[in-house]
Amino acid sequence: MSEERKIRVVIAKPGLDGHDRGAKVVARALRDAGMEVIYTGLRQTPEQIVETAIQEDVDAIGLSILSGAHEYYFSKVIELLKERGAEDIIVFGGGVIPPEDVPRLLEIGAKAIFGPGTPTSQTVEWLKKAVEEKRRKESSVS
C-alpha cells in the first residue's frame, strides 16, 4: 500500500482525569513514527473529542483514562461517533483499566486497549495495521 496519506490520530483525555504522562508519551511516539497527532489536552467531553476527530478527519481516536471512568467514556465516545455517522473511526485507548474490564470495552466497540507496561512500538504497529485494514475496506467499498 502506498503511503499517500499520513495516519491521523486524536489522542484525548476525556473527563476530569489529569494524568497526562502516558497520553503525551504515546502522542509523541506516534508522531515520531510519522503520524499526524492532535493531542487535545485535559477535560475533554465526549462531544468535544468526537467533534475534533471529525473536524480533523482522523483515522483513529486514542482515549487515555486513569480515573476509573473508562466504561462511561468509551461508550459515550463510541455512541456519539455512531450518531454522527463516523463509526469508521477506530477507537483505542489505555490507562488504568483492570484486565477484567477490557472485554467489556472491546464489546462496546473499542478496538484495542493498551495497559500499563505496553511498549509504544506495540501501539504504533497495531495502529498502522488497523488503519491499513480500515483503508483497504474503504477502498474496496468505493
Binding site: L16, D17, D20, S67, G68, P98, G115, P116, T120, S121
Partner: protein, 560 residues
C-alpha cells in the same frame, strides 16, 4: 575536613588502582558503558574523600534539627517519634471511606489522609454533568458538610491529624473540616493536619485546577493568613514534587520545580503583607520516593539544605522553624507494574526505606495492586506493615541520618543541590515560576524526561522487572481487586436532592451572595465566608460555582 596531604596520597593510589581496574576490564568488562543514577547523573566506580574534599561539617551538614538541616529537621528524629504512617485513602461514599479510615487506624496507622474523587477536587457536585462516570472513583465524594460529618464520624479531630489532598477548592474542604471539628467541640487552634493547597503543581503536572493563577494565589495566601491567626498547628500547604516526579521528571527537577513553586508562594505571601517568619513555619512539602535508593536519600537531604538556604539568604528569615523543610513522602506509584504485581511489595519496601533514611516526617506506602485499582483492605494492610516493619524491626531508626559521611551520599547530595540551584536560577531569569509555567518551560522539561525514560525502557537500557525482562507467559487476571459501585453516583445525587430540600435555602442564597461580594474584593480574606457557607450546607459545587463566576476558569496551556 580532610588533610590535603592525605588526599593527594589517596589520589595517587586511585590512579594506580585505575590501571589495575583497566586490566580487570579487559578480562571482564562492566555491565554497561555508562553508569548513571535513575535520573541520569553519571556515577563513578567508587567515591573517595577527594570527592567531598571541600565538605565543611558544620557549614554543610550541621547537627540534626539545626541549620542547614541537612541531617534532619528534628534533633531526636525517629528516636523521639516515628514518622507518621499516613495512608492516602478514600473511595465511593463518606460511609465507605469512614469505614476504611477506622480500619487503618485500628491497624496502627498514626494519621489520616483523605483522597477525594475528581468531581470534589475540581469543585463539581456529584450531579454535575462533568461528574458523570467519575463519582467516588479515585476518592470519596464530598458534596457538602453533611458528607464531611459522615466521613469523620467517630474520629476525634483533637486526637488525629488529617491530611487532605485537595487543591483548587482546598479552602472549602478546610472550612468543612473546621466546621465538623466545631460540632465535635474541638476548637480550630486544637486542629492538626495539612491541606495540599498547591495549585502550581496542578498547572504543571496534576491537572485538578479550577481558577486562573492570580485568584488561586489569593485563595492560597488567604489560607496562610487564616492559618497563622486561627489554626496554628495546621500545615496550610504541602508544596509537592511527588506529582512532578510521577509526570516523568528527574530527581533534580523534582527538587528544583518544587522549591521554585515554594519560592513563588513565599513571594506571593510576602507581597500580601504576611511575615515569612510566621507563615513559613507552616509550609510543608511532599516528595516522591522513587527507585534509585541512594539518589533518593541524597535528594531529600539536598532539598532540606537548599530550602533552608533559600529561606535564610533569599527571604532573610530569622526564625529557624520557618527554614525547616518538613515533608511527607509517598512511594512512587508510576514505578509499580500491572505485571506480576506482588513484585511491587519489594519496590515499595526499597522506596519506603529510602524515605526513612532520608528523614521524612510522614509516609504513604502504595499497595501492590496500585497499577490495577484502588487498594483492598488486604493490600493496604501489607503496605502499612511495610512501614511498621521498617520502624520496629530494621534498626535504621535508632540513630539519626545514618548515611551521613558516605562519600557517595555526600557527593550526590551536593550534586543534586547544585543542579537544582541551576534550574532555579534559570527560572528566576525567566521571571519566576508563574512565567515559566505560562511559557510551558516546566511542562516541556518534565515531558522530555518522561519520553527519554520511555525510550530507555523500550530499548532495554532501563530494566523493569516483569515488564521488559523476567516476564511470565500468563499473568493472573483473576485477582480480587477493589471495584467502586457505580450506584454511588446515583446515591450521591439522591443525597443532594434531599439536602437541598431540607436545608434553609434562603440562608444558602444569602451566604453565597456574601461570598460573591467578598470574592470580588481582593483585600478580603475569604475563609470566614467559606465557613459560613458550608455551615449553611451550601454545596461545594455551589460555592465553587460562585468563585468560577467571579474568578473565571483556567485554560490549560497544552504543551506537547
Amino acid at each position: 575536613m580532610f588533610d590535603p596531604e592525605r588526599l593527594k596520597a589517596i589520589e595517587a593510589e586511585k590512579e594506580k588502582w585505575d590501571q589495575r581496574v583497566q586490566k580487570s576490564l579487559q578480562k571482564a568488562p562492566e555491565r554497561k558503558e555508562h553508569f548513571t543514577t535513575g535520573s541520569g547523573i553519571p556515577v563513578e566506580r567508587v567515591y573517595l574523600p577527594n570527592h567531598v574534599k571541600d565538605l565543611d561539617y558544620m557549614r554543610d551538614l550541621g547537627m540534626p534539627g539545626e541549620y542547614p538541616f541537612t541531617r534532619g529537621v528534628q534533633n531526636t528524629m525517629y528516636r523521639g517519634r516515628f514518622w507518621t504512617m499516613r495512608q492516602y485513602a478514600g473511595f465511593a461514599t463518606a460511609e465507605e471511606s469512614n469505614k476504611r479510615y477506622r480500619y487503618l487506624l485500628e491497624q496502627g496507622q498514626t494519621g489520616l489522609s483523605v483522597a477525594f474523587d475528581l468531581p470534589t477536587q475540581i469543585g463539581y457536585d456529584s450531579d454535575h454533568p462533568m461528574a458523570r462516570g467519575e463519582v467516588g472513583k479515585v476518592g470519596v465524594a464530598i458534596d457538602s458538610l453533611k458528607d464531611m460529618e459522615i466521613l469523620f464520624d467517630g474520629i476525634p479531630l483533637d486526637k488525629v491529624s488529617t491530611s487532605m489532598t485537595i487543591n483548587a477548592p482546598a479552602a472549602i474542604l478546610w472550612a468543612m473540616y473546621i466546621a465538623v471539628a466545631e460540632k465535635q467541640g474541638v476548637k480550630p487552634e486544637e486542629l492538626s493536619g495539612t491541606i495540599q493547597n498547591d495549585i502550581l503543581k496542578e498547572y504543571i503536572a496534576r491537572g485538578t485546577y479550577i481558577f486562573p493563577p492570580k485568584p488561586s494565589m489569593r485563595l492560597i495566601t488567604d489560607i496562610f493568613e487564616f492559618g497563622s491567626q486561627h489554626v496554628p498547628k495546621w500545615n496550610t500547604i504541602s508544596i509537592s514534587g511527588y506529582h512532578i516526579r510521577e509526570a516523568g521528571s528527574t530527581a533534580v527537577q523534582e527538587v528544583a520545580f518544587t522549591l521554585a513553586d515554594a519560592i513563588a508562594y513565599v513571594e506571593a505571601a510576602i507581597k500580601k503583607g504576611l511575615d515569612p517568619n510566621v507563615f513559613g513555619e507552616r509550609l510543608s512539602f511532599f516528595f516522591n520516593a522513587h527507585n534509585d535508593f541512594l539518589e533518593e536519600i541524597a535528594k531529600f537531604r539536598a532539598a532540606r539544605r537548599l530550602w533552608a538556604k533559600i529561606m535564610k539568604e533569599r527571604f532573610k528569615v530569622t526564625n529557624p522553624r520557618a527554614m525547616m523543610l518538613r515533608f511527607h513522602t509517598q512511594t512512587g506509584g508510576s514505578t509499580l507494574t500491572a505485571q506480576q504485581p506482588e513484585n511491587n511489595i519489594i519496590r515499595v519496601t526499597i522506596q519506603a526505606l529510602a524515605a526513612v533514611l532520608g528523614g521524612t516526617q510522614s509516609l504513604h506506602t502504595n499497595s501492590y495492586d496500585e497499577a490495577l485499582c484502588l487498594p483492598t483492605e488486604e493490600s493496604v494492610r501489607i503496605a502499612l506493615r511495610t512501614q511498621q516493619i521498617i520502624a520496629y524491626e530494621s534498626g535504621v531508626t535508632e540513630t539519626i541520618d545514618p548515611l551521613a559521611g558516605s562519600y557517595y551520599i555526600e557527593w550526590l547530595t551536593n550534586e543534586i543541590e547544585r543542579q537544582a540551584e541551576e534550574y532555579i536560577r534559570k527560572i528566576d531569569e525567566m521571571g519566576g515560576m508563574l512565567v515559566a509555567i505560562e511559557k510551558g518551560y516546566v511542562q516541556q522539561e518534565i515531558q522530555d524526561s518522561a519520553y527519554q525514560y520511555q525510550k530507555k525502557v523500550e530499548n532495554g537500557e532501563a530494566v523493569v522487572v516483569g515488564v521488559n525482562k523476567f516476564q511470565i507467559k500468563e499473568e493472573n487476571v483473576n485477582r480480587k481487586i477493589l471495584k467502586v459501585d457505580p450506584a454511588v453516583e446515583e446515591l450521591q445525587r439522591k443525597k443532594l436532592k434531599e439536602l437541598k430540600e431540607q436545608r434553609d435555602n434562603l440562608r444558602v442564597k444569602a451566604v453565597l451572595e456574601d461570598l460573591r461580594k467578598a470574592a470580588m474584593d481582593e483585600s478580603v480574606n475569604l475563609m470566614p465566608y467559606f465557613i459560613e457557607a458550608v455551615k449553611a450546607y451550601a454545596t461545594e459545587g455551589e460555592i465553587c460555582g460562585v468563585l468560577r463566576e467571579v474568578f473565571g476558569e483556567y485554560v490549560e496551556n497544552v504543551v506537547l
